[in-house]
Symmetry: D2
Subunit: 340 residues, 4 copies
Amino acid sequence: MLVIMKNDATQEQIDNVIREITDAGYRGIPIPGDHRTAVCIVGNQGMVEESPFLALEGVKEVLRVTKPYKLVSHETCPKPTVIRLGEVEIGNGCKPVIIAGPCSVESEEQTLRIARQVKEGGAKLFRGGAFKPRTSPYSFQGLGKAGLKILEKVRSETGLLIVTEATDSENLKLVEASTDIIQIGARNMQNYSLLRRAGQTKKPVILKRGLSATIEELLMAAEYIMAEGNTQVILCERGIRTFSDNTRFTLDLSAILSVKAASHLPIIVDPSHAAGRRDYVIPLSRAAIATGADGLIVEVHSDPPSALSDGAQSLYPEQFCQLVKEVEYLNMLGVEKCLK
Amino acid sequence: MLVIMKNDATQEQIDNVIREITDAGYRGIPIPGDHRTAVCIVGNQGMVEESPFLALEGVKEVLRVTKPYKLVSHETCPKPTVIRLGEVEIGNGCKPVIIAGPCSVESEEQTLRIARQVKEGGAKLFRGGAFKPRTSPYSFQGLGKAGLKILEKVRSETGLLIVTEATDSENLKLVEASTDIIQIGARNMQNYSLLRRAGQTKKPVILKRGLSATIEELLMAAEYIMAEGNTQVILCERGIRTFSDNTRFTLDLSAILSVKAASHLPIIVDPSHAAGRRDYVIPLSRAAIATGADGLIVEVHSDPPSALSDGAQSLYPEQFCQLVKEVEYLNMLGVEKCLK
Amino acid sequence: MLVIMKNDATQEQIDNVIREITDAGYRGIPIPGDHRTAVCIVGNQGMVEESPFLALEGVKEVLRVTKPYKLVSHETCPKPTVIRLGEVEIGNGCKPVIIAGPCSVESEEQTLRIARQVKEGGAKLFRGGAFKPRTSPYSFQGLGKAGLKILEKVRSETGLLIVTEATDSENLKLVEASTDIIQIGARNMQNYSLLRRAGQTKKPVILKRGLSATIEELLMAAEYIMAEGNTQVILCERGIRTFSDNTRFTLDLSAILSVKAASHLPIIVDPSHAAGRRDYVIPLSRAAIATGADGLIVEVHSDPPSALSDGAQSLYPEQFCQLVKEVEYLNMLGVEKCLK
Amino acid sequence: MLVIMKNDATQEQIDNVIREITDAGYRGIPIPGDHRTAVCIVGNQGMVEESPFLALEGVKEVLRVTKPYKLVSHETCPKPTVIRLGEVEIGNGCKPVIIAGPCSVESEEQTLRIARQVKEGGAKLFRGGAFKPRTSPYSFQGLGKAGLKILEKVRSETGLLIVTEATDSENLKLVEASTDIIQIGARNMQNYSLLRRAGQTKKPVILKRGLSATIEELLMAAEYIMAEGNTQVILCERGIRTFSDNTRFTLDLSAILSVKAASHLPIIVDPSHAAGRRDYVIPLSRAAIATGADGLIVEVHSDPPSALSDGAQSLYPEQFCQLVKEVEYLNMLGVEKCLK
């Protein structure tokens, strides 16, 4: 059980709540957030009577946490969340969103060229990494701030909305200022400090499933963001690590179904990182849409063989056009009329 | 390298080949098949000169095995295999086949009822287990021979073609006599004796991917069947075992793409066993078809809650009708016109 | 619940039991064994009253199956099982047994040479495959019957006991006649027909854990053997399939602990197949013994680089001597005095 | 290839290097570190001639990166690294180190009590979390700064050295000031910003293997720390995520062997988190030492059932004494005399 203190609760009021919890035979653990404090009651075996705590000064509400996640669950919010950015809607079952662009922002020229190509192909959102988490410290780590400037130029020149990754609290501030959607990568899915900081921003967050995260852990990670007040979270399935070696990761499309069964949050799919090879991206994209994904995030490069990262899995621009066409067909037909 | 002896090669001729191999500094291992013997050359580091062996008496041909699998590969047979059973075609990209029915044949009445329902829904093939491989020796193991009789009745009364599983050499003989397609289950994917026996039948074989089999191992298992002379093999993705616990197994749709990249054999998908829950079967079926599967095999029961096995993942008949409708839409639109 | 019929129960008595079960509102499924029949009661939601069935003619006993496995469990047999073969004891915590030899029986000369070497090193049991389950149909499949003859010669010349694998019902008969312990390989762990046949022999059975089998599934597979009347089952951990690529399989030593927590059966460890590389075999053997394994089964070859199979993981004879010495030290010190 | 600039290289010199790389037909990517810049040469197919770059002003050296990791490898440092803290040595094969304590620092009284108990048992290092990464935002997150104060008191009162976890850059500064060894948890193994910051401290770092990290990825993560100048890195195997459900994670002891085959860094084992249950900790600890681990990190609690976290896997103090005794026996006997 969680005793949520008011935003303006005093330390004295918090201490008083903890004292009452102790007197009732439990233990009260204060969990300070940035704006308010929650006091977690632990040590109870069964049900805890909530009314005594509700009556205390400074207490806003008392939450029973039946499922391990709360804010992300249908229980708390039965209507599907739709995130709106201008004319783009993410989470509206009727029209999946497509986010496309290169793995890394390599140069202004390359980035603008690809941006124009994916816009022509039909994308409304542009992805491109300025801060790259790389397995090797000697690999290209992204252009950093300069990359963000290029992304801002993409927005102003093409009107595409920007999605780019933050990898730590410091670059999160920079990313927040430049981007339309903040991406948190699979390797940071349980970087709780970063999740909390992302929860304090006003920008939507794409949260990628960790390589070996269960659906419950993915939802709990989203809960970290939402618990700080940011309700605009988009989940992303990007393949899990298994024994199977025909693809880099095993795309687990059942994640879409399990997320939708438990949560109101939208979920998109990244077939590029899952497959690790270009020729699988279009069929796996069709599969994701046919399963019910709210969108796709795919890697596209004007010249994949010379890409600084992830060239093998980047689509050529003409393949991206084909992808968009196929998704639209699938969508036109299926999702709205028959499949629902 | 493989020295293939003629069917009527004498033991003397085989011995002579082995002697020549030894003289050349390698080792010759005879691999007796049912109709002919192959002599495998081992112990070579690099290329072996083949002409000396081709010249020997009793030798039919000399095969270089560049890939570990041979008969299943595009190299050997560049055209996709299409298996024809009456009007049904499996492996024809234009029209995925749907196989449906209960996990187990429980009684004549139950089986006929479901058969009529899936026929009405649009199935052309009926699945139902007479010999059931069960984790527990105390679980219902199937009706055996009596189950096969019921399946024959299904065929004669409804015209549906029959798919049923063989689990050992003995019941394979019975199954072969009664069924139209022999199924080999995931747990038997590397039961090489059973594979060889299935390779000696004249009936098409559905070979399910093992729970932890790589694509290469799946293709090698098919190679066992084909090496005995049966070229009618249909592969089946049915989910792999991973850490992920939201479904019973993790459906790996990339298997479709990897099989098609390497082999001419058809591949179908079993979403029922992968998901382990009914409500995921339709969306995962759509995904399989959208990825390019040649067909589906799904569990349907007239009364799932009372099924003797796999009730939780069996579709209700009306759900099966919906599934067929959605697959047809997907197919109509996509696969033929745009997606190819 | 399981109604166990007497060995001499008539068909009429069995039919009567089934009729009574039906009348009680459940369904009775006869499970014929070789010597007796059990009737499994299915379709019950909660507890079933057992006394009415106990009273019927021909009924020996009524078993409640609370755990999915029964005969393998501590509940049924609280004392650890010790399998005795001459002076060798398997399952006696005080002295782990070591089984050693080549992957395959390649020739009489090679086999006898290795047998003498492992005997000198301290082995009491000799392993060597006559029937080899191989991923490729073109790989060396073992010498078959001729290999069994060689193994018999090993026994008569060295006094070593023989462990060799059966891969199907047919070669099981041959193997049973020639061997002291029958081995069932990982790929056949859920080959239930083979398990049942092995359960009908009088020889101890080593049952290897499947590549993706849970401990419960391993115990259930042993239950198949025991349910046929053969109580001499030895389990074997040999590595599971995971994402981790530094070894061929991931050796899961916790299997020893989980088996011992649930079952009275002995469990040994095969570090050779798990590691797939020779230099890991000795340290992983030490680890297995330190964890509490009842023994080891390791691959040894007089000339590993020229082995027809598994050369990379076969120990040189002098390494095997070192292994035995280390295990004895560990054992002397630890298991008896301090570690227990 | 990596062109390492001198610490005092000017921007002009760096630009010149990049220009020369471009002129040679490649691309030069500057990788700014805190003290010096490296320029990575990409876009080459084969070998790059290094002498032209060595001749340029401001260039310190040119490194060929044959393996993906460099500083962690035997190639760079053939002697095993031994980390010395007072009389404690980590990485000295002769005497494994044991780190023990509660999962979380819960209160001064609890922490001091456990510290005295583990000291009496034979521990030289004390573990205890002040900043806890928890799956749920509503779980107890640790006492934070107050926890660090308690740990400092443990050091001053017992003389035990302190190991505690840092989860982000901010608490890393605090942790660095209070602890003797900084721990980086499995979920942060690829939190590259945190790794870099840890690389800039002067304290040894225990780096835990990620739940789904390969050995190569673990070594690359260590490379991030070392590349910043901190050479005191201790790796830690703590179980990987697999399908196997009898333990929380599957302890992969082969990691010890693979790390030692590739790297000079010490590696210890955490059996507590791997097993998730107390009764497996002692046997798995023996196994780790028998395999060759340089130490253990185990959870001990004076009253496990009332622990705020990880109670199920925490040893009772008397069990910890038994663990130490067994490890000493194993060690006395084996590692020095016979096992090496």
